[in-house]
């Protein structure tokens, strides 16, 4: 009975890693970031500045110790190490060859940014500072930026946890019990689409403290997509799974928690992703109106002082922050849904 066995284990052990668009000439690809970093340094030091930078803490440092050229030099050193590393260690090869052109491209964008601002002054101060100032601002305000990021993370985690938990509970109940579904769906369709931020005036009346208000807002923003996607996932579980489970002796607990919920997981993850996106938006807005801490609050504060270098610094940090959280959720998804055949890539 093993003659017809198509051996699946090699597929399971070593999934083919498809990296689309990897350049055909690896040497050029691997050295590209080094070249790009050298060009960036040349542009930075050799070309005259066309923009007049405002006074800042950077003025007390020699120009080669500014954070921007130091960071570019670090990229160059890192790229050289990676190039050597991938030549020596074959295990690094595909990752380095995949990443190198992307790093070079990112450095290229920063070069373009410096050229149109600091060097040629096509975009003017104070709204368009160059990378030297923005990197400087990031280093100067590193403590308050990290503190803001930490505060944002804490608020986001609290709100997201509340929204996900509530959404899972209502989603499962609405999805599993047809009678609840009958009464709840119209209400959900009516209340759910309200943008959470529109509820700010209402929520502010519930608590004196701004933190629970923000948690409630983020929770609401996450709760709606979680509820809708969980309930549709539960309600659309293939009946055959439930039938088979019942003939195996499953009771209601097993049917809900071991059949319906796992079967609905792909949907639930779509809800988690939509909820995460909604939570970012709500977080930033909540922080700019009520909460006196966090990335959104800092952004608004620096905008008030026309400190655009710090605004950009905050935006860059926020991008890293949100993107990291999104990546973490994708990793969790890939792990939890590893039983699925084809999954969307991040």
């Amino acid at each position: 009975m093993t003659a017809n066995v198509a051996d699946p284990l090699p597929r399971a052990a070593a999934p083919p890693v498809r990296r689309g668009g990897v350049p055909a000439r690896p040497v050029v690809a691997v050295l590209a970031p080094v070249v790009a970093a050298a060009v960036a340094l040349a542009v930075h030091f050799a070309l005259p500045d066309g923009q007049l930078a405002p006074l800042s803490w950077l003025d007390s440092l020699p120009s080669w110790r500014h954070p921007y050229p130091v960071a570019v030099a670090a990229v160059a050193v890192g790229a050289i190490l990676a190039a050597v590393g991938q030549a020596v260690l074959p295990s690094l090869r595909s990752a380095v060859r995949h990443a190198a052109p992307l790093v070079a491209g990112a450095v290229g964008l920063v070069i373009a940014w410096e050229v149109v601002t600091t060097k040629l002054n096509w975009l003017h101060q104070p709204f368009f500072p160059g990378p030297d100032e923005v990197f400087g601002a990031m280093v100067e305000d590193r403590e308050i930026l990290l503190e803001s990021a930490w505060h944002s993370l804490w608020l986001l985690a609290a709100g997201y946890a509340v929204g996900v938990t509530a959404g899972l509970v209502t989603g499962v109940v609405v999805g599993w019990f047809p009678r609840v579904r009958y009464w709840a769906m119209p209400a959900l369709k009516f209340v759910g689409p309200i943008p959470a931020t529109a509820l700010i005036p209402l929520v502010m009346t519930l608590w004196k403290d701004s933190f629970p208000c923000a948690v409630a807002l983020i929770g609401f923003a996450v709760w709606f997509p979680m509820t809708i996607l969980t309930s549709s996932g539960i309600a659309n579980v293939r009946l055959a799974y439930l039938d088979v489970a019942r003939t195996l002796g499953a009771g209601r607990f097993y049917l809900i928690f071991h059949v319906a919920i796992p079967a609905a997981l792909p949907n639930i993850f779509i809800g988690l992703f939509m909820g995460l996106g909604a939570s970012f938006l709500t977080l930033i807005v909540a922080e700019t109106v009520g909460v006196q801490a966090g990335l959104g609050w800092y952004l608004r504060w620096q905008q008030g002082y026309m400190e655009y270098a710090k605004v950009y610094a905050t935006l860059i940090l926020s991008a890293v922050f949100f993107s990291t959280l999104m990546t973490v959720l994708f990793k969790v998804r890939d792990r939890v849904l590893k039983w699925q055949k084809g999954v969307i890539k991040w």
């Binding site: 009975m1 699946p8 293939r238 799974y241 039938d243 003939t247 195996l248 002796g249 699925q340």
Partner: protein
């Protein structure tokens, strides 16, 4: 039966069972009308018939997933009130839980009934029984159709059901895999003595496997006649008596007369 373990089967009885469904437009569709069938303990009975003759409906009633409109079904003299682990069900689609590995699928019945801790070690026996030892940790999407169906069979058997209800379990498999699986099914049946009720479209399969064949006809679904297959096992598909029974069965479906008269069958 000539083996010591043939003690698991239970008697399955359907008495004057009718089942009607209400269609979307409010009209009533009679899927089964006054069907009576008695399957002895350890017997293998096939239900054959064209689409819409109520074979699958009868199986679902026996599984307890639906309730008859009239009449009653019993297993071992107990009326069937709902689904139970005593009556295993295997569909044409293996319906393995895709989020569980093969091992965890087979364990599902034990886990659902809180017996997993006590009986975990039996699961390996079942993996061996259906020839999936090397695939315990594979996910269903990594299995071929035949392997998935064997896993589904093991998942039903681990509960030691008195009756195994098979709804075209081999219908989606290619010819070669199907013939191998038929032998597999007979091997398990002989080893366990489980009562089996098999729905099939395949007349040869019914003849090869069954003790008796219930021939059904549609609109409304009912059992027209029951054919005894008094052939010793192992059976040979080209045996004269096998072919005689085959033509009798085809006659029962009026299928012999649609063949052009002068042409001889390609054997």
């Amino acid at each position: 039966m000539n083996n010591p373990r043939a003690a698991e089967g239970a008697v399955l009885v359907a008495r004057n069972v009718s089942k009607a469904f209400t269609a979307a437009d409010g009209s009533t569709v009679v899927a089964l009308e006054r069907v009576s069938l008695e399957v002895a303990a350890g017997e293998l009975v096939s239900l054959v018939g064209p689409s819409g003759c109520g074979k699958s409906t009868l199986l679902r009633l026996a599984a307890g997933l639906d309730h008859p409109t009239a009449g009653e079904l019993t297993v071992g003299n107990e009326p069937i009130a709902g689904p139970s682990a005593d009556r295993g069900l295997v569909f044409q689609d293996p319906t393995l839980f895709p989020w569980l590995t093969v091992r965890r699928n087979i364990e599902a019945g034990l886990a659902a009934r809180g017996q997993l801790r006590r009986r975990r070690r039996e699961v390996d026996e079942y993996l061996t029984l259906v020839g999936l030892d090397g695939f315990a940790d594979a996910y269903p999407h990594q299995l071929s159709g035949g392997m998935a169906q064997r896993a589904a069979l093991a998942r039903a058997l681990v509960n030691h059901p008195g009756v195994l209800l098979l709804d075209e379990p081999l219908g989606a498999l290619d010819q070669f895999t199907r013939m191998r699986m038929q032998d597999e099914l007979l091997r398990i049946w002989a080893a366990r003595g489980t009562t089996m009720l098999l729905v099939t479209h395949d007349i040869d399969e019914a003849l090869y496997l069954s003790d008796r064949i219930a021939v059904m006809s549609p609109r409304p679904g009912r059992i027209d006649r029951i054919l005894d297959v008094a052939l010793p096992r192992p059976r040979h598909r080209n045996d004269r008596r096998f072919l005689d029974l085959r033509s009798r069965l085809l006659e029962a479906f009026d299928l012999t007369c649609v063949e052009p008269a002068p042409a001889s069958p390609p054997h």
